[in-house]
Symmetry: C2
Subunit: 193 residues, 2 copies
DNA sequence: ATAATTATGGACTGATCAATCAATAATGGA
DNA sequence: TCCATTATTGATTGATCAGTCCATAATTAT
C-alpha cells in the first residue's frame, strides 16, 4: 500500500529511552534523539509525534519493563523475605555504567514533580502495582513468622518503595555495588521477626 | 569609588535558588533567572558569572542551609532516637507548595548524575557531615538502650540518608504530609531496641 | 569639578532549539 | 503500468538560548 519503514520502531524507541534516561527531558535535544535512534528527523516526527510524545512513550515503555522485573524478583522466591531481598538487591545492576543511570522514573519525578498532570496520572497507575504485591508478600511473611508481626504491612510496603527510590538516587550519584548491596540487606533485616 | 549595586545580592541569590530548585538547571533560562531575581541581564553576569556559576553558588548555599537544619533537628533532643525522628519528620515542610519542591540536592543528583566532577566533589564534601553526626547519635542510642544494639551504626546511618532521599523524591512527586510523617515514624521504629 | 571605577539597561550576536515544508523514493493495489 | 499512500532526505522556519557590547548612570577619591 505504501512505502515501508526502513528502521525498527522498537529498536529506535529503546535508543530514545537510553538518551532520555541518561540526560532527562529538558537536556535532550531532538538532534540527540535523531542521532541515537539512527533515523531522519521527519521519520522521528512521523513515527513518534513530537519530543514530548516520544518522551511519554519512552517513559511508559521503560516503566512497564522495569516494573515487570521488580515483580518477577519479588515473587520468584518461595520465601517472602527472600523476595523482598531480591527486589532490593537486584534493583541496581552490577554493570557500573548502567547502574549510574539510576531509574528513569525517579528522574522523571525529580525533573517534573507535580507540574505535569499526564506524568502524575501515569505514576498513579504504576505505583500501586508493586505496592499491592509488596503488601501481599509482607502479609505472607508475617504468617510464616519470617517478618515482624507487629509492623503495618501497608507502611512497610511504602517504606520499601521509598528505599528503592533512595537506592536509585544513590546509584545515579555514583554509589558502588557493595554499598547498595549492604544497604538492601540491612533494610531486609529490619523487617525480620 | 564606584557606583554601588542597587539590589541585594543575597536576596537575588535566594530567588535564583528558588528557580533552580523548582525547575532544575537545564529547564531554567537566564531570562527566568533575571526576572525572578529582579535584576538586569548585565547585573546577573557581572555579579554571578554565568548560568553555571550561579547554579553552583545557588546549590552550595542551599546545601549549607539545608544541612544546618538537618543537624539542628538531629542533635537538639536529648534522646538520640528523638533526634533521628525529628530529622526525618521535619525533613519535609508542612506547606504543600514548599514540600512539593523536594530537595534541590536530590534534584541535582538526578539531573547530573556523575557527569559533572565539580558537583560530585561538592556532594562528597557535604554528605559526610550528616553521616558522621548520624553515626554518633546511633551509637549514643545503642549505649542508652534505645536503639537495637545488634545493628551496624554505619549501615544504619546510610539507610537513614537513603530514606531521606526517598522521602524527598516522594514529596516532589506529590506525597501528602501524613504519608511522609507515618513513613518517618515507621523507619524510626525499625531502629528501636 | 574631574577622573576612575563599577552598575545598569537595551540592543545585539551567533548558536541551538523544536518543528515544518517540499521534493523524492518506495511500496501494494487497481 | 500507474495511482494512492507512506517514508525519507535536506533545506528551512521562527523562537529561544546563553552570553556580549556599548552607551549611560552613579558613586568615591582627588
Amino acid at each position: 500500500m505504501a512505502r515501508p519503514r526502513e528502521f525498527d520502531r522498537e529498536a529506535a524507541l529503546q535508543n530514545a529511552i537510553g538518551v532520555f534516561w541518561s540526560k532527562g527531558f529538558a537536556a535532550t535535544s531532538t538532534d540527540d534523539l535523531r542521532k541515537a535512534m539512527g533515523i531522519g528527523r521527519q521519520s522521528l516526527y512521523n513515527t513518534f509525534g513530537d519530543k514530548r510524545q516520544l518522551y511519554l512513550e519512552a517513559l511508559r515503555t521503560y516503566q512497564r519493563k522495569s516494573m515487570s522485573g521488580h515483580i518477577a524478583r519479588l515473587t520468584a522466591p518461595e520465601s517472602p523475605l527472600d523476595g523482598i531481598r531480591d527486589l532490593l538487591v537486584g534493583l541496581t545492576p552490577e554493570d557500573a555504567a548502567l547502574r549510574n543511570l539510576g531509574c528513569m522514573g525517579v528522574g522523571s519525578v525529580c525533573e517534573f514533580g507535580v507540574t505535569d498532570p499526564e506524568l502524575v496520572s501515569m505514576r498513579q497507575k504504576i505505583a500501586p502495582l508493586l505496592a499491592g504485591r509488596l503488601v501481599g508478600r509482607i502479609g505472607e511473611g508475617q504468617a510464616k513468622g519470617e517478618i515482624d508481626d507487629s509492623l503495618d504491612p501497608e507502611a512497610a510496603a511504602t517504606l520499601i518503595q521509598i528505599t528503592m527510590t533512595g537506592l536509585q538516587v544513590a546509584a545515579r550519584g555514583g554509589a558502588d555495588d557493595d554499598e547498595l548491596h549492604t544497604l538492601a540487606l540491612f533494610m531486609v533485616d529490619r523487617l525480620r521477626a
